[in-house]
């Protein structure tokens, strides 16, 4: 640690005067803790007003109805949450009230009736998250293994693989919109002939649009996975491979016994990061299809916050709660590993 030179600056500054000098002297004489908190003040102000305050205020608003109406807001406790889960407020959401057509079959599940909006949103968000993160992990792993090799043109392959990650979401959405729009998409006839997407009105068909959104997300974000896994791969001690080779291990054995177990923690962290990130999905849906066709949780917040603010806040807080749960798992794991 650097020792605090409490007297150093003051000696020379004491001979001068003026407000600037006074402030400098005061700063220099602050203890390390006070100095640290002083320098963190901008962070506290920014995060406090833009993140912490809205989070608490959202929780408060979610306990009221008639926030936007002419009369006074009325405190209703958890009514918004209850009604949102039972589907009593489905009429507050725009568009049709079904995401998945088979409401009869789905009612055999106790919780996931897929005919209500919140349940649709939960299903869409979780489906999107699991499927896209699953494939991103596999593809990202493959890309990382490629980039871990020494070969000519490695830099260029890496550039090509990273580029999708740096594409604005709206342009990513536009790319896939143009690839699957019935008027332009050359892929749609082929994909619909094998039953993957709807032949007409593809981007307004819930299943097709969800599939396209998932593919678009995999295209963009696998690179992020690849970079994190690559960092894990490159931290493996290369001597292990020399030992294995001398012992006569095949490449597959080397992968199974050395690479895979050693890179697994990095993969785990990457998966958690991506899961948290994927749960926020909004922009891609909005630009490829529409929030009324593929309702994610964030979508529902945006669709309703101008009409029924209490309900919208409840959805927002449920979203935050789900993510908070995953974050808790992450932190608990970090804590167990002893940071």
């Amino acid at each position: 640690m650097s020792t605090e030179g409490q007297t150093k600056g003051t000696d020379s500054a004491a001979r001068k005067s003026g407000p600037l000098v006074a402030i400098t002297r005061w700063l220099e004489n602050l203890g390390e803790t006070a100095f640290a908190y002083l320098l963190l003040t901008p962070v506290f102000i920014l995060l406090g007003s833009i993140a912490l305050y809205p989070l608490l205020r959202t929780l408060e608003l979610s306990l009221y109805i008639n926030v936007l109406g002419a009369g006074d807001p009325e405190f209703v406790g958890f009514q918004n949450y209850v009604e949102m889960f039972t589907g009593a407020r489905d009429s507050d959401f725009p568009g049709s009230t079904t995401f998945l057509p088979a409401a009869e079959t789905s009612s055999s599940f106790p919780f996931v009736h897929i005919d209500g909006w919140l349940r649709s949103a939960l299903v869409v968000t979780l489906l999107f998250t699991f499927v896209s993160v699953f494939f991103e992990t596999i593809i990202g792993f493959g890309q990382a293994l490629l980039l871990d090799q020494e070969f000519r043109g490695r830099r260029w392959l890496r550039t090509a693989i990273i580029i999708p990650w740096a594409i604005p979401i709206v342009i990513q959405g536009m790319m896939f919109y143009l690839m699957f729009h019935p008027s332009t998409g050359f892929l749609t006839p082929y994909l619909s002939s094998i039953g993957l997407v709807a032949p007409t009105n593809t981007l307004n068909d819930p299943w097709s649009a969800t599939l396209i959104v998932i593919v678009a997300d995999i295209w963009k974000t696998s690179a992020f996975m690849a970079l994190l896994i690559l960092a894990g791969l490159q931290s493996i001690d290369r001597n292990l491979y020399d030992v294995a080779r001398v012992a006569g291990a095949t490449r597959w054995q080397q992968f199974k016994m050395i690479t895979f177990p050693l890179v697994l923690p990095a993969v785990g962290i990457a998966v958690l990061f991506r899961t948290i990130d994927a749960m926020r999905i909004y922009g891609l849906i909005d630009s490829v299809s529409s929030c009324t066709v593929v309702p994610s949780l964030s979508c529902m917040v945006v669709e309703t916050f101008n009409t029924s603010r209490g309900l919208s806040s409840a959805v927002a807080f449920v979203t935050a709660g789900i993510i908070g749960l995953i974050v808790t798992v992450v932190i608990y794991q970090q804590y167990r590993e002893g940071i």
Partner: protein, 330 residues
């Protein structure tokens, strides 16, 4: 060579495929060759899949809109359906700017991104110095708090922020005490720069913390002995020595703001550049107003994506190191 270890009769009894598989299993050299071939197949596969959407944009931008709507992608001689430019309609790249003032949207994006980057780097520099170089009570929990906040979805912040930016009074949650009435910020850069700064601040803090923490104490002490203040040492010694780290944080923040969707779309009430609507608004206005000008949508996307392409090619190393450092930090 490959077959030298086997007797000719062995080989004769096998079908060609069997012989080849047997060779691969037993012969190291064949194994390596197969491995190499698989490697190149995978590399080409990833190249094609990542770059194809860009090719598709280029095809659509260069093809006149009437041909796009005709929807015939068969190649001239072979007749096989394959997307290829039908014509060389470069005019689309000019029309993009005539149909809507696309350059103004891109300009807005640049202003927002640069301003946010400056704010984030300034605040994160102070915080990175504190977390990277000082020991004080509460350091761990504070760091954790910043990390946790950065995980929450923008949707969880949207409603109260939107209210406040509309000029409604800010109320202390659960107490009902009105604090102050903020100015109306929607349709101004402030309504976007503030959420952007908060959203992307944590990543920069973690990157700068790592870099600032690596500067040897001796260098800072030497500066202090010369009579520099603590902040002076940060500005004159630590930040210049951590220039690569600062550049990394700046590049990542710039990209993140340029690519942001959520607040960019919502905080400008209409998709017009006068309301500080950034790139998102420009692209979406093609999608919503000129619904059949597919060649212009593609051309606009290419124009909008160019700055990012250049940035990735130029600053690739920084992006890679920053992403991995920021994510694997904690």
């Amino acid at each position: 060579m490959a077959t030298q270890t086997e007797s000719p009769t062995d080989d004769a009894n096998r079908s060609p495929l069997q012989a080849w598989t047997h060779g691969v299993i037993t012969d190291q050299e064949k194994q390596d060759r197969l491995y190499k071939a698989l490697f190149y197949v995978a590399a080409v596969f990833f190249l094609v899949t990542t770059l194809f959407p860009f090719y598709w944009l280029l095809v659509l931008a260069l093809t006149p809109n009437s041909s796009i709507l005709a929807g015939d992608w068969s190649l001239p001689v072979i007749g096989l359906e394959f997307p290829h430019p039908q014509g060389f309609n470069v005019v689309a790249f000019v029309e993009v700017f005539q149909q809507v003032p696309f350059h103004l949207y891109v300009f807005n994006s640049f202003v927002l991104a640069v301003t946010t980057t400056i704010i984030v780097i300034a605040i994160a520099s102070l915080a990175g110095y504190v977390f990277g170089r000082l020991e004080f009570p509460g350091r761990g929990p504070l760091l954790l708090g910043i990390l946790v906040i950065s995980y929450f979805p923008p949707a969880a912040f949207l409603i109260p922020l939107f209210d406040a930016f509309l000029g409604n009074a800010v109320v202390i949650p659960f107490l009902g005490i009105e604090v102050f009435e903020p100015p109306r910020l929607v349709n101004t850069p402030g309504a976007m720069i503030m959420p952007f700064s908060a959203l992307f601040l944590p990543l920069s803090i973690f990157i700068l913390m790592t870099f600032y923490g690596q500067i040897p104490d001796g260098l800072e002490d030497a500066a202090r002995v010369e009579g520099t203040t603590r902040l002076g040492a940060l500005v004159r010694v630590i930040i210049p020595l951590s220039a690569p780290g600062v550049a990394t944080a700046a590049v990542l923040t710039f990209i993140a703001v340029y690519n942001e969707y959520f607040f960019s779309e919502i905080m400008a009430l209409e998709n017009v550049p006068q309301n500080w609507s950034p790139l998102v608004g420009g692209i979406l206005s093609y999608q919503t107003q000129y619904t059949t000008d597919f060649n212009l949508m593609a051309a606009a996307s290419i124009v909008g994506v160019l700055p990012m392409l250049i940035l990735v090619v130029v600053a690739q190393e920084k992006i890679v190191s920053g992403l991995t450092a920021g994510a694997l930090k904690e």
